[in-house]
Amino acid sequence: MKDYNAFREEVRSFLAEALTPDLVRAGELTTSVFSDFEAALKWHKILHEKGWVAPDWPEEYGGPGWDINERYIFQEECKLANAPTVVMMALQMLGPLLMHYGTEEQKAYYLPRILSGEDMWCQGYSEPGSGSDLASLKTSAVRDGDDYIVNGTKIWTSMAQHSNRIFCLVKTNKEVKPQAGISFLLIDLDTPGITIDEIISLDGHVEQCQVFFDNVRVPVANLIGEENDGWSVAKYLLEFERGGHNFTIDIKKQLAKLRKQARKVKARDGKPKLQDPVFRHRLAEAEIEAMALEQTELRIKGALNAGGNPGALSSLVKCVGTELGQRFNELSVDAVGQAVTPYHADSLNPRYEGKGPVPGYALTTMAEYINNRAATIYGGTAEIQRTIIAKQILKL
């Protein structure tokens, strides 16, 4: 039996020392899954030096070799300490996939560069015409000697503006049924023929991009898995995107923040909003939902610890976790009232030292509310998750 309390202490004391005020500020001002990029990269490098940047990776690939409880503790302590988030596309998705499907050369080349932060990866799945119906994607890769010639476009490529590489699903055979003609391809973003357009999100910031490929030459050696086997590669990856996250940690943080806010803000009668019975009852119903989610995630953790597979339960917690997160965003918006209206982008920049029009308690509220609408869209929409539940649990 491992001493998890000692582990927690070790994590805590490391965080207390390593998280400098500028990093904590960036963590506090994080309003989506991505923190300020400069801070995220700095934190990535600090974690890499400690050997903790890839909590889910086994030791042989440079991970810390933690069990699920240790990973949970680490995630929780980082959240509590307001650490910025590191960019996760390569660490959580591509990395595990390379370990499973990559050749020895690919693993030896790419994995260390992911760990060090030398390579930043973005994910090229969705296209303007292919969202939930991913298999209908059109970006094509046509063999030409030892290369593919890639043409098409990818959208919702988070952090592409900061990345040097992209992992893509491309169509390599149009004659078969859609799932059977897809391949998984790694592409350098500095290859001629690639342009990146930034997309301004509802909160005024850029996180998403659209990437265009115009006769881009990509070596066949960059294929992951077999040609036309990209769909099963992608499905393996989607499981990591869905199953690897603990929502309770985020929700608890949201709840703590919301309670603090609601103590600060005055309701109609001059008392703290938290004592407004209408608001308090709405909050209580959401708190109860959070407890149900927590107990369900503990059940899943128990199953994983016993060597089981959570299966479609991960779709279930994805639905509940994201929808509940959005519910807390709404409560937060309602708690702070008109303080959600001023738009002042500088205030959310961790390096800004001035004072904007938004009171401190409401600084991130509206941006979080806006940005978190995406939570029920990315990683398989809430509707796709419900279809998975219907198919896998109800056998419909």
């Binding site: 109860i288 939902e289 149900a292 419900r386 279809t387 109800l394 419909l396």
Partner: protein, 367 residues
């Protein structure tokens, strides 16, 4: 689940599936029978009536986790016999530390010979157990009990009642036998196929009938209320899960517009939502029972949350089950409407959803 719990579940599942036929139950209900003595006796033989009592009292010494496993099966199979009302709820009041209960009564309850239910609600009292207008007055050799009680769950077939009253301005409860002179039991069937009773009392009870008073009585009732919530929630969980399964089976078979109803995405997603709610409730019921048995610090928080959540989800799922079936589910001969009715009754059983929500807030804000 522990091995004990799995064995309990499997045994209950097997017995009820093979023997507790829905149509036979329906015939009993429609014939005005409140319970089947045959089933009652078998349930006692299965050991279910002995579950919560300590081994010294002839019981099995199980906690609420084990009782909940059986209660869930009762929910699935629409068991009408008031087993948990007697052994868990009244049993809890009769075995709380410091109370004065003859051990022979507990032995009779554990063997199914006695069926004891709680009589606390009154026509003019606020729905809180300490608000009682019933009065106990010391007389020679005992007490005179005067009062009126309503909505006594299981009251149609009870052999004894645990009656709440005031004694010298203190909260107290006494044991009254069904045959006591001066007790009128006006019993009636309930919508969920069980029995209820309204009691008019002007009875003389012996001194030994006074089970608890003051602080002990209040603490005992608080514990019993927590267990009411746990049993109501576990039974609701079983009923909602069975309603969901019936809905999935039915929509797979029912053909409309040339295809099974279950092939329509609008209905699939609604059934997926029902799955989500069932799983969330299961997580809470298990956690709350465990917290109660272990006396965990967050016990009350979890128990109250479980009441709110299962009450919400129980209604949602059984209402959806009727809607997704269509007209057939509005009939007495089809099972799904009976889950709906039982869940509605469980919602109201001693602790309401709204009361639990209010208490939840008080507990969380005090922490």
């Amino acid at each position: 689940m522990t091995e004990d719990q799995q064995m309990l579940r499997d045994a209950a599942e097997r017995y009820l599936r093979d023997n507790y036929d829905f149509n036979a139950r329906r015939e009993r209900v429609n014939a005005g029978e409140y319970m089947s003595q045959e089933h009652w006796n078998t349930m006692a033989e299965m050991g279910w009536m002995a579950m919560p009592f300590s081994e010294e009292l002839g019981g099995l010494g199980f906690g609420m986790q084990e009782c909940a496993v059986v209660a869930e099966q009762f929910g699935r199979h629409l068991v009408m016999e008031p087993v948990m009302d007697s052994v868990v709820v009244a049993g809890s009041l009769l075995t709380f530390e410091g109370v004065n209960t003859p051990s022979s009564l507990i032995e009779q309850m554990a063997t199914g010979e006695a069926l004891v239910v709680v009589a606390n609600a009154e026509p003019d009292a606020a729905p809180s157990f300490v608000n009682t207008h019933s009065r106990l007055q010391a007389t020679e050799g005992g007490y005179r009990l005067v009062g009126e009680k309503v909505f006594v769950a299981g009251g149609g077939s009870a052999t004894h009642f645990v009656v709440t009253a005031r004694l010298n301005d203190e909260f107290a409860y006494v044991l009254v036998e069904r045959g006591a002179t001066g007790l009128t039991v006006n019993h009636y069937p309930t919508y969920d196929g069980r029995s209820g009773a309204n009691l008019v009392l002007d009875v003389l009870v012996p001194e030994s009938a006074l089970i608890a008073t003051g602080e002990t009585a209040i603490l005992a009732f608080a514990q019993a209320r927590a267990r009411v919530v746990l049993m109501a929630s576990a039974e609701t969980l079983g009923a909602m899960e069975a309603a969901l399964e019936a809905t999935v089976d039915y929509t797979k078979q029912r053909i409309q517009f040339g295809q099974p109803l279950a092939s329509f995405q609008a209905l699939q997603h609604r059934m997926s939502d029902m799955v989500i709610q069932v799983e969330l409730c299961r997580s809470l019921v298990e956690a709350a029972c465990r917290a109660h048995d272990e006396g965990a610090a967050d016990e009350m928080e979890l128990i109250l949350a479980t009441k709110v959540k299962t009450a919400n989800a129980g209604r949602h799922i059984t209402q959806e089950a009727i809607q997704l079936h269509g007209g057939i589910a509005t009939t007495d001969e089809y099972v799904v409407g009976h889950y709906f009715k039982r869940v509605a009754a469980l919602d109201s059983w001693i602790v309401s959803r709204d009361e639990a929500l209010d208490k939840f807030i008080a507990v969380v804000d005090a922490a």
